[in-house]
Symmetry: C2
Subunit: 226 residues, 2 copies
DNA sequence: CGGCATCCGGGAAGATACTG
DNA sequence: CAGTATCTTCCCGGATGCCG
C-alpha cells in the first residue's frame, strides 16, 4: 500500500523514448506552449504574460513557469537596475522550439473551424509573419515598419529578401501603424483594403502608406483544409 | 442556471485566433498527438493503436479518435473485403501535421532529461529517420532495408539522396534486420557496434551487412541542449 | 475479440480571494 | 506587482460490462 505511492511516477509521463513524446512531457500541459509563444520575442514579466494570455489564471501561470524552468526551457532573470524587476525568458534551447510553434500555427490556421476574429496577441502576429514569409516573393522589397499595439512598439522590416521581426521600434521606419494585431491580420491576410480599416477607425498610419501596402503584398492566406 | 450550462463553451478552448492556439484546441489534449504519430505511416485499427501506445486507456483512445474525427484530422475507413475491418486513418490535412511531430521530436530529443532507453514504437523510429535525414550526406548512398518488428515489416531505403520510409516490406531488400525499434536507435544514433548488438542477441541481420552499416552511417545523434 | 458506454477515484485546471 | 491559498469543476486513468 505504502509502496504503491512511492513507486508511482512523479507527474504523469508518457514513458516513451520518442522525442516528440518527451517534448509533450515537458511542454504538453495546458498553456505551456502559449506561454513560450509570448516569450519568443523576448523577456516578459509575470503580469505581462497574464495580460497577453486571456483566460490563464495566476496559479496555472505560476505552475507552468515553474515546470518550464525545471525543464531548462525558461529561466528567471532580473533586468539591469534601476528597473530591477524580475522577468522570465526562454533559454537558448527554449528559443529553438520556435519551429514547432510556426508549423503548428500554419497547420492550425488551415482548420475549417479556425476563427481569425478572436483575440490575437502581438507575439502571435510577429510569429505568423515569420512563419509565412516567402523570401523569393520579397527579393526586391525594402520596407521598415513600426507597429504600435497599445503603447508597445514592434518592428517588422524586409530587406534583401530577409525578414526582421522584433519587439521595440526600428531605428528608421518608413511607416508607423497603430491598431490591434487582429486588424493587421485583416490587412495582411484577409486583404481588407487599407482605406476601409482606416475608415472604421481601426487602423492609423503615419508616413509612407505605399510602404505599408508593399509589405502587405508579401503575405497571403493559406488555403483551408478539406 | 440552466443557461450557464448551455452558454458554456464546449470543451475548454483558448479562444485565441493564433493558429497555434487553435491547433492546441484540436490536438493539445493528452495522447492526441501520439495517436496521430501512430497513424502517420498508414491506417491502424483500434487495438493496434492501443498496443502501440502503452498506457493509454480504451476510453481515452475512443475520446481522442472521436475528437480528431470531428476536427477533420482522422477518418474512419473500412478495409476492402474480405478483411473488412474498421480502421482509422489520417485525412490529407492530418498528414500535413507531420512537420509538427518531426520538429517536436528533434527538439525533445535534445532535452537533458530525455531517456532514449524507454519504449520506442516502430512509427517513432520511422519518423525519426525522416526528421534527421540529411540529403547531402546521402547523395552517393543506395540502400534498401527491410526492418521486422514483431511480425510487421517496414521499409527504409535511400537512393539518389532521397529517403523512403513506409510500412510494408520493400520489393527488393539489400538486408533484412529483425529486432526492437529501440535497438536500431542504438545502432543508428548511439553508434553501438553491430557485432555487439548481434552478440547480445538483440539484432539479427540477413543479407548484405555492409548495406546496413552504410545506412547507419547516414545518421547521428544531435547535441544535447544546455 | 473489437469498439465502445459507464462508473469511480485522483489530480490538474479554473475562478476568486487574499497577501507581502 | 507577483504571486499564494482555497474551493470547485472537469479531465484522465482504471475497471467493469455490454454487444455485435
Amino acid at each position: 500500500m505504502e509502496l504503491e505511492k512511492i513507486t508511482k511516477k512523479a507527474s504523469r509521463s508518457y514513458d516513451d523514448a520518442c522525442g516528440a513524446a518527451h517534448a509533450l512531457d515537458l511542454i504538453g500541459e495546458r498553456w505551456a506552449l502559449l506561454v513560450m509563444r509570448e516569450l519568443m520575442l523576448g523577456p516578459r514579466r509575470f503580469s505581462d504574460l497574464r495580460a497577453q494570455l486571456p483566460g490563464i489564471s495566476a496559479n496555472v501561470l505560476t505552475q507552468r513557469l515553474e515546470g518550464l524552468e525545471a525543464a531548462g526551457i525558461v529561466r528567471r532573470a532580473r533586468l539591469a537596475p534601476p528597473a530591477s524587476v524580475q522577468v522570465y525568458e526562454l533559454t537558448e534551447w527554449g528559443l529553438e522550439a520556435e519551429p514547432i510553434l510556426l508549423h503548428m500555427g500554419m497547420w492550425g490556421a488551415r482548420s475549417p473551424q479556425h476563427d481569425p476574429t478572436l483575440y490575437f496577441s502581438p507575439a502571435s502576429l510577429m510569429l505568423s509573419l515569420r512563419a509565412k514569409f516567402e523570401p523569393a516573393r520579397a527579393a526586391t522589397t525594402d520596407v521598415s515598419l513600426e507597429m504600435r499595439f497599445g503603447g508597445e512598439s514592434y518592428t517588422a522590416a524586409v530587406q534583401a529578401g530577409r525578414l526582421t521581426t522584433a519587439r521595440g521600434a526600428p531605428a528608421r521606419a518608413d511607416a508607423v501603424v497603430s491598431g490591434q494585431p487582429v486588424t493587421l491580420i485583416e490587412l495582411f491576410y484577409v486583404k481588407t483594403p487599407l482605406e476601409v480599416l482606416e475608415g472604421q477607425g481601426r487602423l492609423a498610419v503615419e508616413g509612407d502608406r505605399g510602404a505599408l501596402l508593399r509589405f502587405a503584398d508579401l503575405w497571403e492566406m493559406p488555403p483551408k483544409a478539406g
